[in-house]
Subunit: 170 residues, 3 copies
């Protein structure tokens, strides 16, 4: 699956990260974990620490809360596989830093089209609840939904995880 | 699929409208777009304008933010196909205008049973997030859930769209 | 399916309770309905009354808003089938009474492993909307997601219900 893109979607605590990690381990190539999380408070720090513990040995971890495109371009090779966890956190970081999100997303897709190695993306489904009161939250849902559509379109495989169980969407 | 009902569900920005439009275009009959949106603020006006642009040529647009049943009865023929986008907006309009929602829904199903031509309904899945604090939002989720169940029951086909990818539920 | 566990997930008003009831009735054994709901306000009392009415005759109802494990252990036999509706309400009750939720969940799984008869669990998918502002709501989503994963792992069958229509996940 050299250069192939895989998208793994699911709700919060759906088991999507676990599924993605197993998927990447079974691929067999040297694996990089590209973390988009920023430990800006203790709740998030706990979540990151727990994830790292759950993941176990054998991962090279790179942190890229904002410059996801740069980190992908710098680290993808024909011999490795990259797991990006997760895209909705990346979007949330971009919005929190007042970046031009659409521009960053366009650059992201430009980068993807030139990567030599396979990448597996984990992302949160956030659009199946009630419309939030908060305009920023609505914008976030819109960005996430559009990003997922574009990524699913170019992905070779798309999975949706519920209660740890995968459904293959593509 | 004369007289047949199709229901297309999905989260926000899931690609459900795009899927529905392609579905209706491929049907081949003259197509009517029955819009339930009301442009009560600039955010909604932008969203409507963007949808209209995305849709392209070849649609006759009818606006029916409240009297959906009347618009369906007046416009359905054996020779055309109607796309209704979307039902959750219609529900939201009914509630915003303090209508008797259950009565309007009963009338809607009575109307559906007598329509000569096919209708494709788009609607938002809104019930898979946390219970909202707001009582109105909870009532809205309940109305939407019940409406989807009743409609799915009489529909010939039901699809769920995630990241632009359809799953056939019925 | 003696001793077997079945998990039925879905959003609010997705038809999951109705599906579960039909499923249990078709099983044929004497059936117990284990209700986790507490009628702490009139909205909830209405919801409980409506559910009881929808359910019809032939059920022995047991109320267990907190001690679900005890109620399962006391009532499961090789000859009956128990329907638990629903797990997210149970979680919500535990949190509302400041219980040690992880401890209660561990006890729950210990109990499950020793039950003689089949149990069908209904639970709400609550993790596919936007991240809630409220820390308690975030903790609730995390508990629910982890509980669903663990339960799905040991279940013989898992269904996800949308608009009254089941998808078999396992």
């Amino acid at each position: 699956m050299q250069g192939e893109i895989t998208l793994i979607l699911g709700g919060v605590r759906s088991g999507k990260s676990k599924f993605a990690e197993t998927y990447v381990i079974e691929h067999g190539a040297p694996r990089l974990y590209l973390a988009t999380a920023e430990a800006f408070d203790s709740e998030m720090a706990d979540r990151i620490a727990r994830h790292r513990l759950d993941r176990g040995e054998g991962w090279t971890t790179i942190e890229a809360p904002l410059d996801l495109s740069g980190a992908l371009a710098a680290n993808s090779t024909v011999d490795n596989i990259i797991l990006v966890d997760c895209l909705t956190l990346w979007l949330s970081n971009l919005m929190g830093h007042n970046r031009d999100v659409e521009e960053d997303i366009d650059r992201f897709f430009k980068t993807l089209s030139g990567l030599p190695g396979p990448v597996v993306f984990v992302s949160n489904e956030v659009g199946q609840g009630i419309v939030p009161d908060n305009a920023l939250a609505r914008a976030f849902r819109d960005h996430a939904g559009r990003l997922h559509q574009r990524l699913a379109h170019i992905a070779g495989k798309v999975y949706f995880i519920t209660a740890g169980l995968p459904q293959r969407l593509k």
